[in-house]
């Protein structure tokens, strides 16, 4: 049987000092005669003591804020200027179609990355009055002309692409006859992480009508998905993944896109 007072949370409130004077006196009297509540109070004290030892971590590892600040300024740069919240349609369509044909690939990537950022951020935020993720995204065209790719952005998407290629290379060179289990978990986790980003890039790219790049990213997504969902490096799934990479000529296509200025 659980004591009713305990069930109602009174003991916690007592401990937290959230009871009125009268309730407090009553709880104290109750504690004197109820072992269960005394034990609960004791448990809470132990928990609180352990929590007090929880480390205070107030910065990224090593106190290095540089990456954090770079990402933040990239995200902020992709935002519409505060105060001006332009209406949706006008900026959107006109902006996209006017710009796309003129994009050099490096700038294009920066653009895509910015959109990805805003997609991510747009999804994450409960948008403040009237903001919509897609509006925010398209406004980013206006916020930063595509001729000026942010170096931080380019290097981020470049990293993503390089890491994806490494995973693919690792997968294609694995021996299907004797697949080793050691690195599989790492590879699978990495694939799962990359998958998320790839999907966002792909969406942004599609959004801007870049079908060639979107195709490459879609295939990459498929490989990463299969990898991330494989239980282990068994021969069958590994062969399946390798076939997929070969059939889609994925590595070559990635290199071509990449050499184009990623």
């Amino acid at each position: 049987m659980t004591c009713g007072l305990l069930e109602r949370g009174t003991i916690e409130l007592y401990w937290y000092g959230e009871l009125s004077q009268g309730e407090r006196d009553e709880a104290r009297r109750h504690l004197d005669r109820c072992l269960e509540c005394r034990q609960a109070l004791h448990d809470i004290e132990i928990i609180a003591a352990a929590l007090a030892e929880r480390p205070e971590v107030a910065s990224p590892p090593g106190g290095d804020w540089s990456r954090f600040m770079a990402e933040l300024s990239a995200a902020v740069a992709a935002e519409p200027r505060p105060k001006r919240t332009p209406p949706a349609e006008s900026v959107t369509r006109a902006g996209r179609h006017r710009l796309v044909p003129y994009l050099a690939s490096a700038a294009l990537l920066a653009l895509v990355t910015m959109s990805v950022f805003t997609l991510v951020r747009g999804r994450s935020a409960t948008p403040p009055d009237g903001f919509r993720a897609d509006v925010v995204m398209d406004v980013s065209f206006e916020a930063r002309p595509p001729s000026l790719p942010d170096p931080a952005l380019v290097s981020l998407s470049d990293q993503h692409f390089q890491r994806s290629k490494l995973v693919l290379l690792g997968l294609t060179t694995r021996d299907t006859a004797a697949p080793a289990a050691e690195d599989w978990e790492y590879e699978r986790d990495l694939a799962a992480t990359l998958l998320q980003d790839t999907r966002l890039y792909r969406r942004a790219v599609e959004e801007h009508g870049m079908t060639g790049l979107a195709d490459v990213l879609r295939d990459l997504e498929m490989v990463l998905l299969q990898t991330s969902m494989s239980e282990g490096p068994d021969r069958e799934s590994l062969e399946g993944i390798q076939r997929l990479i070969r059939r889609r000529d994925l590595l070559t296509r990635m290199s071509v896109v990449h050499a184009g200025g990623f």
Binding site: L13, Q39, A58, E79
Partner: protein, 195 residues
């Protein structure tokens, strides 16, 4: 320069002013985010979100309000949002299976977290990580920030009764988890019910 000097400048598009604001408040934001998330990866995500939201709503900041309490509110909501986002994933093929895969492996605690607290600390850390987002935020706010239940209720836009119940649920859950893990004294003596 004070916050109230920096905010209008940042709202007017001065990047240096915004950066100064971020630099001033990032330790607090990060600390809360880390307390909530228990790892750097998610803490950074949350902190990014917070400052982006700050940026977006600079022009709506009420100057009679304290920046720090406004920030607290944003941090708490960002923590809850972050969790919700992790859960919902949100894309098309193979959604469920993949969602599970992507969300399951929570980053293992950093060296800071691993160093603390022995058995109880570890069990506690694991269980805090399993609390539903709302409960976790309320619990963290109460314990680490020392906020009163009324303050939490106000910040989250919840009824005080709801906050009380959530806090109760969180503590209840932690107690039972620790009891199950055999790290609380009452686990040994009171397994069959003490009263």
């Amino acid at each position: 320069m004070s916050d109230s000097d920096l905010i209008p400048r940042a709202a007017g598009g001065d990047p240096a002013a915004f950066q100064a604001l971020v630099e001033r408040h990032r330790p607090m934001v990060y600390r809360v985010a880390y307390q909530f998330a228990g790892n750097h990866h998610d803490a950074e995500d949350i902190a990014q979100d917070v400052f982006l939201k700050v940026f977006r709503s600079l022009d709506r900041f009420r100057y009679d309000a304290q920046l720090t309490s406004w920030l607290y509110r944003i941090v708490m909501n960002a923590c809850i949002d972050h969790r919700r986002r992790q859960k919902s994933g949100g894309w098309v093929p193979g959604e469920e299976a993949e969602g599970t895969l992507l969300n399951m492996p929570e980053e293992s605690p950093g060296p800071e977290a691993r160093a603390y607290g022995g058995e109880i600390g570890q069990a506690l850390e694991a269980e805090i990580g399993r609390l539903p987002a709302g409960q976790r935020v309320i619990f963290i706010m109460r314990h680490h920030q020392g906020l009163k239940l009324t303050e939490i209720a106000e910040a989250l836009g919840l009824a005080e009764g709801t906050v009380k119940r959530q806090l109760h649920a969180a503590v209840h859950r932690l107690r039972h988890a620790l009891t199950r893990a055999n790290v609380l004294a009452s686990a040994n003596g009171a397994a069959g019910g003490g009263a």
